[in-house]
């Protein structure tokens, strides 16, 4: 039973608003202390899924299990107020008529008043908001409001924490800082966390696991590295940046591409049989260099500065283009002939 403690499990959840199918047959399991990111464009059903888990929406079908207890089933619906769930809203939804302390105390269960206050003080300290007890929400900055909202959600000692784009209204520099604090606290408290975001960089930076959702369907669930280097389709791949997409046909053990043949065992292929290779995996060499297992060769046509790296566009034999990323500064100039190696 211990493994079920603080675990969130959803199986085959579907939900629709009238004719619009918002969530289609989604299943996920999040273990305690794990931060799971749900990444998708707006309108992809990710917020709906959060609301279903919290009990704010009744799904059409499927079950939600929180800490081993079914809260949603065909015959059963636990009201949101009886679920062990914390929810941080995109707009934080702090009660504007209550000060910070009373916002945190709002959802705190029973016990003595003095103990509640002590617990609230601990929570505020944990989110680095001690000393703001009597401040009213509108006097706080976005980041501070976010941390109070987190403390308030944690006050019920939830098994599961749901974060709905909690960092999207913060400016870029503050975002990383608040995100780190938030996720550290959640991991420390061993809570299963589901974080919804539309920002791929945020998902990469904060998730132990990432699920990509599109049009209500889960497309891929993986750890960040796998998602980056082994996306299941082009759209997912392009979410995280430039990728080379090559038509390929099977030829004995190797994959034949217009640019040459490749051993496919370690390379991802999407459902249409295209090869997907990140620019980081391509290594450029001067034609004179003696390098083993050169895949193909071509001519540099463009070099884009990206700060720490450069994106080099190479035109290969059949006029198709390949992208390679190398550390800046590079000596490649348009017109240079190059040899390309796949670096695995």
């Amino acid at each position: 039973m211990n493994t079920l403690h603080n675990q969130l499990k959803i199986s085959s959840i579907s939900h629709s608003y009238g004719k619009l199918e918002a969530v289609r047959d989604v299943s996920l399991t999040i273990d305690p202390g794990i931060v799971h990111c749900l990444l998708g464009p707006s309108g992809s059903g990710k917020s709906t899924l959060l609301r279903v888990i919290a009990g704010l929406e009744q799904p059409v079908s499927g079950t939600v299990t929180i800490a081993g207890i079914d809260v949603n089933g065909p015959h059963l619906l636990e009201k949101p107020e009886n679920r062990s769930v914390g929810f941080v809203f995109q707009d934080y939804a702090l009660f504007p008529h209550l000060n910070v302390l009373r916002n945190v105390l709002y959802g705190m269960p029973g016990a003595k008043r003095s103990e509640q206050r002590k617990h609230a003080a601990q929570l505020l300290e944990r989110v680095e908001m001690a000393g703001y007890e009597s401040a009213m929400p509108h006097t706080l900055s976005g980041g501070q409001q976010q941390r109070v909202a987190l403390a308030r959600a944690l006050a019920r000692k939830p098994s599961v924490m749901l974060l709905d784009e909690p960092f999207s209204s913060l400016d870029a520099r503050l975002r990383t800082e608040v995100r780190d604090t938030t996720l550290r606290v959640l991991r420390e408290m061993n809570v299963a966390t589901l974080l919804v975001t539309h920002d791929p960089r945020e998902a990469m930076g904060s998730g132990d696991w990432i699920s990509v959702i599109r049009e209500g369907k889960l497309i891929q669930t993986a750890i960040p590295e796998d998602l980056y280097f082994r996306p299941v389709d082009q759209e997912t791949a392009e979410t995280f940046g430039t990728i080379n997409r090559l038509p390929a046909t099977q030829h004995e053990r190797d994959l034949l591409t217009p640019s040459g043949s490749i051993n496919p065992d370690t390379l991802p292929c999407d459902s249409d049989g295209f090869l997907l290779i990140r620019p980081e995996l391509l290594e450029l060499h001067s034609p004179g260099n003696p390098v083993s297992s050169i895949w193909t060769s071509g001519v540099v046509v463009q070099v884009d500065q990206e700060g720490g790296t450069n994106l080099v566009t190479v035109q290969v034999k059949d006029k198709s283009r390949l992208y390679a990323r190398c550390l800046a500064p590079t000596s490649w100039k348009p017109g240079n002939p190059v040899q390309i190696k796949i670096n695995l």
Binding site: L56, E81, R83, G107, R152
Partner: protein, 558 residues
């Protein structure tokens, strides 16, 4: 299975409460409809042969006349104070709302008193020019045209308010574009500003027409027979509930038609702001002769619709109000306060429940129930009273009979013999006022606060108490105040449903004025006017925050 799961989710108590409030609000309508086509022992026959044609003619002419009058006064003054720079503009933009504080029947009493043969105006004319009765013609205020003038003066602020809000919301950019395209200021008004403001003006106008159709006191005093006075007379003098209900049904038909026309007109006329850039309007500076003319034009409605009547009542009250009259007014004032405060409180509670249920559970049934609960404002007071009288008596009789059989004790006239019937009547009519105020307040509370509260372990009921109630305090107070003032001024419901020997300030003022004893009525009239100022102040404060530049809710939407 899906169906079952959804039903499970419903919070039944909320839905049921909302539905029963709506059911109560629709009782008068059902009762009126029940009487259509019934035999009224020849009364209906008698009415059609004698007065019905007159009712139709007078009501139609009155409605058309008042619409024209209030459109002229309301739209023009709104445009002038919004767009032109002239002395007194700042004061006038709020002062133009003042006539709303005076119930139209008091305006009628004042106008008659001032303009009658023995009144100050005619006396002054005779003395100055040494005329006698035969030497001159003077308009008779107790006529259809008199009633039109009085009602236009009393009701134009609805149109003024609607059009001013619309003009304020228009961005100056739109008008400036028109000017750069070579169209002059007046032409721009007619071709751009006015068409854009049309949906709001239609809304304000329909409110005016609704009030005109429901108008009882002023019309009755001007001796113009309309449906509203006809309904009252058929019930009070002829004693025929059925005939009164049938007259009511005719009036309701007209109102329904009006509502359909209005919604059709507004649907066709819905505009979206093409630009989100809002710029403060640059005012046209008027040269002295024009400025003076404008000032006079804008002052006239305020003077005739508010200042003169108030001065008249004040003079009468100070000069002629005797001790005894004051004592009676104190006692009646107490009655009025109790009834109005109770009505305000009950209406606010019911409206809060209805509006909150609509928020947390917007099922089709609840949506319909909310609409029905707010329907009463379109139904004239007299119609509501007639529609309630039958059902309430029936309930009372049956409970009385039952109690007598069971316990050998009869509770008597606990409904129609007490304030209860009166309060129910007021609820039916004024619930809409409280409802719209509270709904507006609720929409300003973001829905994530509800969700946050549920997720933090609160039921909807406790959320209402701990989150919405404190945040809504202002709206709730406004709602209660508006209903309070409306109740205080109300005439026909009070006249028909009040318990025997129970009088309110409004009723006594009405009766004294009917007996031509305006001097004695003046203190009561003043008291009613003073309380009537409360909603005007609320309105003008609301109006001053509706400027987009100050209003944060008007931010452009992505």
């Amino acid at each position: 299975m899906i169906q079952l799961a959804r039903v499970w989710r419903l919070r039944w108590t909320w839905t049921l409460t909302s539905l029963s409030i709506a059911a109560f609000a629709t009782i008068p309508l059902i009762e009126i409809c029940r009487h259509i086509g019934r035999d009224s022992d020849g009364t209906w026959q008698h009415l059609t042969e004698t007065v019905l044609a007159g009712y139709i003619y007078n009501t139609t002419v009155l409605a058309v006349g008042v619409s024209t009058g209030s459109l002229l006064m309301g739209v023009c003054t709104a445009w002038l104070v919004t767009m032109c720079q002239f002395p007194g503009r700042q004061v006038l933009q709020f002062a133009l709302l003042l006539p709303l504080a005076i119930p139209t029947y008091l305006l009628a009493y004042a106008a008659t008193d001032l303009l009658q043969f023995s009144g100050p105006v005619q006396t002054l004319l005779r003395e100055t020019f040494h005329w006698t009765k035969e030497d001159y013609w003077f308009p008779n205020i107790r006529s259809l045209s008199g009633a039109i003038t009085i009602l236009s003066l009393g009701l134009y602020p609805y149109v003024y308010l609607a059009s001013r809000t619309a003009f304020l919301e228009q961005s100056a950019c739109v008008l400036e574009v028109s000017r750069t395209l070579g169209v002059g200021p007046w032409s721009s008004f007619l071709r751009v500003a006015l068409p854009l403001a049309r949906p709001s003006i239609v809304a304000g106008l329909s409110l005016t027409v609704m009030e005109t159709l429901a108008e009882f006191g002023a019309v009755d005093y001007c001796a113009v027979d309309t449906f509203a006075t006809g309904i009252y007379r058929t019930w009070m003098s002829l004693g025929s509930l059925t005939a009164a209900a049938q007259l009511s049904a005719c009036l309701l038909g007209a109102i329904l038609l009006l509502l359909i026309i209005e919604s059709a007109a507004r649907r066709k006329l819905r505009f979206h702001h093409a630009t989100y850039r809002y710029r403060e309007l640059a005012l046209f500076k008027l040269r002295p002769p024009m400025a003076l003319l404008t000032l006079l034009f804008c002052c006239a409605p305020v003077l005739f619709g508010f200042v003169f009547p108030v001065i008249l009542f004040m003079l009468k009250s100070f000069r002629n109000g005797d001790e005894r009259a004051r004592e009676i007014f104190l006692e009646l004032g107490q009655n009025s306060l109790i009834v109005a405060a109770l009505a305000g409180l009950v209406a606010t509670c019911l409206a809060l429940i209805t509006a909150y249920c609509r928020r947390i559970q917007p099922t089709p049934a609840v949506k319909v129930a909310t609409r029905l609960s707010g329907l009463g404002y379109a139904i004239p007071g007299g119609v509501i009273a007639i529609g309630l009288f039958g059902p309430l008596s029936w309930i009372e009789e049956n409970i009385d009979k039952g109690a007598d059989e069971l316990f050998g004790w009869s509770p008597g006239f606990w409904l129609t013999g007490t304030m209860v019937a009166l309060i129910i009547g007021y609820q039916t009519r004024f619930l809409a006022v409280a409802l719209s105020m509270i709904q507006a307040g609720l929409t300003r509370i973001q829905s994530t606060l509800d969700d946050a509260s549920y997720v933090l372990g609160r039921s909807p009921g406790r959320t209402l108490g701990q989150v919405h109630f404190p945040l809504l305090r202002g709206s709730l107070l406004c709602a209660a105040l508006l209903v309070f003032v409306d109740t205080l001024k109300e005439l026909p419901i009070t006249l028909i449903l009040r318990p025997f020997n129970f009088e309110t300030l409004a009723v006594r003022v009405y009766q004294l004025a009917s007996d031509e004893r305006l001097d004695e009525a003046s203190s009561g009239a003043l008291a009613i006017i003073m309380t009537g100022l409360i909603p005007v102040i609320i309105l003008s404060r609301l109006m001053s925050v509706s400027r987009p530049s100050l209003n944060r809710t008007n931010k452009p939407l992505p």
